[in-house]
């Protein structure tokens, strides 16, 4: 299909001279920046998370989701392979697949019933040869109309140990190279090839720019201060053994930590919200089982552009960040476990899900903080965030008192957006 990329809109804006230790607020609010991000980032050289193989196990299974704000469909075809395409009829641009999940033999646009196979290839156009009138046929497509030239736009797909990624860029490097060795190590820590089991999804609409969500999981500094639940029960706290690591570009990152105790220490004196007298009537919420090869109890990985892989004790989820204009995003949580989880482990995962999601004992706080930030950005787009905690560069660190990984994200963001 012939697509002509429009040249990127020129944005008459200058990044503050301090570089990555300042984040101008207009990058969160300017519609021109938003449009350029869709083009350069989500439709550019990136692997975008679209689902788990366990969500579409059988031939004909499909899932409708988004890459950036573009609707896409990921399918399992009859030969078992995975395909993805833009959810848009090649005729008039209508959305074709209108269910989130299902099983189909093919896809038919409701408007003029153009029919496509499970890979998005055009199979049939009604009245293509017109209708008979006496000895001749009238109407129909021109004789030289080529079915093969019209299809729903194909995306490049790679499935990695049960996780499905797609890209608009057909020249995309393999996923393993996109992540780099260190990030791939953390990815394979959770996705080691064992079959996964989908536990279900939650979704919420957040009044803020999508980048705030990615930053939030690159920001261990806030976690020790904002989240009473995390700090009180030692689930994630500045005085615990922890680290922040990135790939070489800075676009992907992990926060890693080990569970501590519910007690004050020298390192917690700045944590006003640590409540050592806070008790649970039912402490079974904190019951857990070690399941990974290291002693880390929290590994939160952010993969550029819009995926968060959550491992907090035994609760595992993919959080998909879906931008909906500069001022909103949807956060979709795909919770999962492993196909061979025993009953006790399945129980831990479901119970600990209370910490996460739109009603999460921990995640509630983040949404409130993000929305408050975004309000500030809209009121003062010409100002900038001061990100100097832990220095002004983007190095890997063995502590949590740093904003290094946010700076790493913007190092790469500036390059790809043209502000480097």
């Amino acid at each position: 299909m012939a697509t002509t990329q429009q040249p990127a809109a020129h944005i008459e804006r200058l990044w503050p001279k301090e570089g990555i230790s300042r984040i101008p607020y207009w990058i969160y609010t300017d519609p021109a920046v938003y449009d350029l991000e869709q083009q350069k980032i989500f439709q550019g050289p990136a692997w975008n998370y679209v689902g788990l193989e366990a969500e579409i196990p059988k031939p004909g299974d499909f899932k409708a989701t988004f890459i950036g704000d573009i609707p896409v469909v990921v399918t399992r075809t009859l030969d078992g392979s995975l395909k993805a395409f833009v959810n848009k009829c090649a005729h008039r641009g209508a959305l074709v697949c209108r269910e989130h999940f299902g099983n189909a033999k093919d896809f038919t646009c409701i408007y003029h019933q153009w029919r496509y196979d499970l890979s998005g290839k055009l199979l049939a156009v009604p009245f293509r040869r017109g209708v008979p009138e006496g000895d001749i046929r009238v109407g129909g497509m021109p004789d030289d109309f080529q079915m093969a030239e019209h299809r729903m736009q194909a995306l490049k797909v790679e499935a990695v140990n049960g996780v499905v990624f797609a890209s608009f860029d057909h020249g995309m490097t393999p996923f393993r190279e996109y992540l780099g060795e260190l990030m791939m190590y953390y990815f394979e820590r959770v996705f080691d090839g064992r079959p996964l089991r989908s536990l279900g999804r939650m979704s919420q609409k957040i009044a803020g720019n999508w980048k705030l969500m990615a930053e939030n999981i690159k920001d261990p500094y806030h976690a020790s201060l904002l989240h009473v639940f995390l700090v009180t029960f030692g689930l994630f706290r500045a005085d615990q053994k922890s680290k922040v690591e990135m790939d070489e570009t800075g676009r992907h990152a992990v926060l890693v930590s080990r569970k501590g105790e519910q007690k004050a220490s020298e390192g917690t004196s700045d944590i006003a919200r640590l409540k050592s007298d806070y008790v649970l009537h039912d402490p079974s919420l904190l019951n857990r089982r070690k399941e990974f090869k290291d002693e880390n109890t929290v590994v939160m990985q952010t993969l550029f552009p819009g995926l968060i892989i959550q491992q907090q004790t035994n609760t595992l989820a993919m959080r998909q960040i879906l931008p909906k204009g500069p001022h909103h995003f949807d956060l979709v949580w795909d919770f999962f476990g492993y196909a061979d989880d025993d009953e006790e482990m399945a129980g831990f995962r479901l119970k600990q899900a209370n910490l996460m999601g739109p009603a999460g004992l921990v995640s509630i706080d983040d949404v409130e903080a993000l929305e408050m930030c975004h309000k500030g950005f809209r009121e003062h787009p010409e100002e900038a965030a001061v990100l100097e905690m832990g220095g002004r560069d983007s190095r890997n660190e063995n502590h949590m008192v740093t904003e290094s990984a946010i700076r790493g994200f913007y190092k790469y963001y500036r390059e790809i957006m043209g502000w480097a």
Binding site: L199, G200, R201, K205, H281, A346, L361, E371
Partner: protein
């Protein structure tokens, strides 16, 4: 079950659900666990997960202990902006019986009012409950809140 008994169950269920939503809307959430039996189950689940037979719950409490912990977190741990919630519950229907428990369902709509904003529909869905009588008083042995509004606007803080 005779007609008189059936009507009495319906009336008791109606009263229980009515008191329950007033308790939440009046911000008396400390009393919320008392609507349940000691080992009562409370879950908020998305309708898509129910339809696809997937087990995740957006909020789940097994037993009053977990409910008290949820209340304590709402009051003392979670950070969220002030809000009013208002439930409207449709006609309560008794749909069956399982041993001692009565199966009851009702539709609901919850409106949310955030400070400086107009009132909006926050959520629509259905209550599916198992009600038992403990010392003559009706209690929820199980209350499953199934919501249609799959894109939750912002946060879900207070139980529904």
């Amino acid at each position: 079950m005779g007609v008189a008994e059936a009507l009495s169950i319906k009336s008791e269920a109606d009263e229980l659900i009515s008191s329950y939503v007033h308790c939440l809307d009046d911000d008396r959430i400390e009393e919320w666990p008392e609507f349940f039996t000691e080992d009562g189950v409370y879950k908020i689940v998305g309708r898509d997960n129910v339809d696809r037979n997937l087990p995740i719950a957006t909020m789940s409490c097994h037993g009053k202990g977990m409910m008290k912990d949820r209340v304590n977190a709402i009051r003392n741990a979670s950070v969220y902006s002030p809000r009013y919630l208002r439930h409207l519950v449709g006609s309560v229907q008794v749909v069956g019986q399982e041993g001692e428990s009565h199966l009851v369902q009702a539709n609901f709509v919850v409106f949310q009012t955030l400070q400086d904003e107009e009132t909006k529909v926050f959520m629509a869905g259905k209550y599916r409950s198992k009600i038992v009588f403990v010392d003559g008083s009706p209690k929820f042995q199980e209350k499953i809140v199934i919501y249609d509004s799959l894109q939750i606007p912002g946060l879900l803080v207070i139980p529904l």
